[in-house]
């Protein structure tokens, strides 16, 4: 038993933590963390104690000097994510090994590192990915998740002191894919991570991103872009734990929904502990409902235990398509379908522009337009 239970849990950050899946009770869907999730559709991911399906394959392109990708035993990396729910514990325990993406200290990679993560089929699988960015390195890493999978996976990311990581994770899964993913960032002193999480494909995708700071002056920007079609459930949760002084965080997630029973969930938790003076944080979620029958849940949450913050705020807005914008564009001769495309592209423009890979920006813009066209709206 490796339980470090801190009872009673008074904040989001003080919950049961354990590397052993059997320490966690079965998920019923009634728990606060699971209340928006259709847990039945997660199947074995919330019931099993081990998983035996084949983990996704990693297809790296040409890796720049200083960057390597290897399969290693779990013992070779120090866990950054201590599991705090049943799925993250299952992923930890059931993963056969760890895919290690290592960026040597002081590496400055001119080209982005683009890695395809390919699902191996519907049999439920577990996986661990570990990204280690050495001190003062500067790199962009893109993980494109494609294919079919039923997957519980943890992605652990350590950003060394003074390092700068732009980390783009795309889910472009096939329609039947189910994924429950945990992403954990440990941000070093004066280090900076820029995460862009793009969620387009899959039947049910639930991504829980958490951030901790290992030293002063760390910065984390978490950007999210998602588009849910009929029947899709896309859920994003964040826990940014400010326990170190003088760190910054910004969380900005935007989603569009179209079609019956398209469902998105955004729950953003930011905790500023008593020691974390000089913290600067802001979180915002915006949702655009493109049709009837779609549902966006959006819950910002800020817990502040010190008065000495630089700034802290949150915002959330969910709205329908703005008919005045549409009218303005159409009054200039632009046909309705094209006007809608412009508005939706505009809604996502700020986020897409966070991605430092032009080819990817264009592909995403096109993917969003294709989604709009598919609905014939």
């Amino acid at each position: 038993m490796t339980t470090e239970a801190m009872a009673p849990p008074s904040t989001k950050s003080q919950v049961l933590r354990s590397f052993d899946v059997t320490d966690f009770p079965a998920v019923t869907g009634l728990e606060e963390e699971w209340r928006f999730t259709p847990v039945k559709r997660l199947k074995e991911l919330v019931t099993a104690t081990t998983l035996t399906g084949a983990a996704p394959g990693f297809a790296p392109g040409d890796l720049p000097a200083g960057v390597s990708l290897t399969q290693v035993d779990a013992g070779k990396v120090e866990p950054v994510l201590t599991p705090f729910d049943r799925v993250s514990a299952l992923a930890f325990g059931a993963a056969a090994g760890v895919t290690l993406i290592d960026v040597a200290a002081d590496t400055v990679a001119a080209e982005p590192v683009v890695i395809r993560v390919v699902g191996q089929g519907a049999a439920a699988a577990a996986a661990r990915t570990y990204v280690r960015v050495g001190n003062f390195a500067q790199v962009t890493v893109v993980l494109e998740q494609v294919g079919t999978a039923t997957l519980a996976d943890n992605v652990e990311v350590v950003i060394g002191d003074g390092a700068q990581l732009t980390f783009v994770t795309l889910t472009e899964w096939d329609a039947e894919t189910v994924q429950a993913q945990h992403v954990k960032f440990r941000v070093g002193r004066d280090a900076r991570v820029n995460h862009v999480q793009v969620s387009l494909g899959g039947s049910l995708v639930r991504q829980f991103t958490s951030v901790e700071y290992a030293g002063r002056g760390g910065e984390a920007e978490l950007w999210g872009l998602y588009f849910a079609d009929a029947g899709q459930h896309i859920e994003h949760r964040q826990l940014v734990d400010h326990s170190v002084p003088d760190c910054r965080s910004y969380v900005g997630y935007r989603g569009a929904l179209q079609g019956r029973s398209a469902h998105t969930v955004w729950v953003g938790d930011v905790v500023i502990r008593a020691a974390a003076t000089g913290t600067e944080t802001y979180e915002i979620n915006r949702n655009l409902l493109l049709s009837d029958g779609a549902r966006a849940d959006s819950v910002p949450n800020l817990e502040i235990e010190t008065g000495e913050v630089v700034s802290a705020g949150h915002a959330s807005a969910t709205g329908r398509f703005d008919d005045e914008q549409l009218f303005y564009l159409m009054a200039r001769g632009i046909p309705e379908a094209e006007a809608r495309k412009l508005v939706v592209r505009g809604f996502f423009a700020e986020l897409i522009n966070k991605i430092p890979v032009e080819e990817l920006r264009e592909r995403l813009g096109d993917a969003i337009e294709a989604r709009l066209a598919k609905a014939g709206s």
Partner: protein, 254 residues
């Protein structure tokens, strides 16, 4: 030569609960290319309702009458079809479109109106020239449409579109309101350039007479309680300046 004909136009605003509130009570007006008409009336008299219903805003329902442009039934057209047929509305409150740059917006609009993309070679210059004429900083091209624009910048942007898109009929809804003297002069010069071309008909909607010192109307129509109650030449504007709308408003109430 184009002609916009409005006959006995009756319009209601759609209230949120679905009921209709009648606003326009039978408007008759004919505007020909090369003419400048001023519609003057107090706040709430229905001037914007007239402008928006001609442009096809979904908030308004036509309950009677006709609008034609060169004999074509405008009311049967969608909003974008009306614009492509040659109608233009400079809005009283231009709308912000986040994430869409002015340059992208204008190129898309120009392509839609002309039915073909503007020539790459000449378009940049044309755009720059149009911005210069309205004394807009070139940096505006990269900003999002109307986002964070001052009142004056929004109106200059509207008139810039008027010059670029070259409509047959332009309705300018209170383009003068909220402008300081400099901006009013710049905007008026833009309208006068369009006027001087002689190719467009202009319908200038205003509450104040101030803009009519810069743009001389050929015809003035006094608009009260949803209809035109008096018509004349430029002298009517001077009379309104001196006397105000009181007389007409009292008449409408009686």
């Amino acid at each position: 030569m184009s002609t916009l004909e409005i006959r006995d136009l009756q319009v209601s605003v759609k209230l949120p609960e679905g009921e209709l509130k009648p606003i326009l009570a039978g408007v008759d007006l004919t505007v020909k290319a090369g003419e400048t008409h001023a519609i003057m009336g107090p706040n709430g008299s229905g001037k914007s309702t007239l402008a928006y219903s001609i442009a096809g805003h979904p908030k308004y329902q036509i309950t009677g009458g006709t609008v034609t442009l060169d004999g074509e039934d405008v009311l049967a057209m969608t909003v974008d079809e009306r614009a492509r047929a040659g109608l233009f509305l400079a809005m009283q409150y231009p709308v912000e479109v986040p994430g869409v740059s002015v340059a992208n917006f204008l190129r898309t609009a120009k392509t839609a109106i002309d039915g073909e993309a503007p020539k790459l070679r000449t378009w940049a210059g044309e755009l720059r020239g149009a911005m210069e004429k309205l004394q807009m900083d070139p940096a505006f091209a990269q900003r999002n449409v109307n986002e964070g624009f001052s009142g004056g910048e929004k109106k200059r942007h509207e008139i810039m579109q008027l010059e670029l898109l070259k409509p047959k009929m332009a309705i300018l809804d209170e383009t003068d309101s909220g402008l300081d003297i400099d901006a009013l002069r710049i905007v008026s010069e833009g309208v006068n350039r369009v006027r001087a071309s002689g190719e467009a008909g202009l319908l200038l909607i205003t509450h104040y007479t101030r803009i009519l010192r810069y743009i001389k109307p050929d015809f003035v129509h006094v608009f009260v309680a949803g209809k035109i109650v008096q018509e004349g030449g430029p002298e009517l504007a001077e009379q309104l300046e001196a006397e105000g709308y009181e007389r007409y408003v009292a008449g409408a109430r009686a």
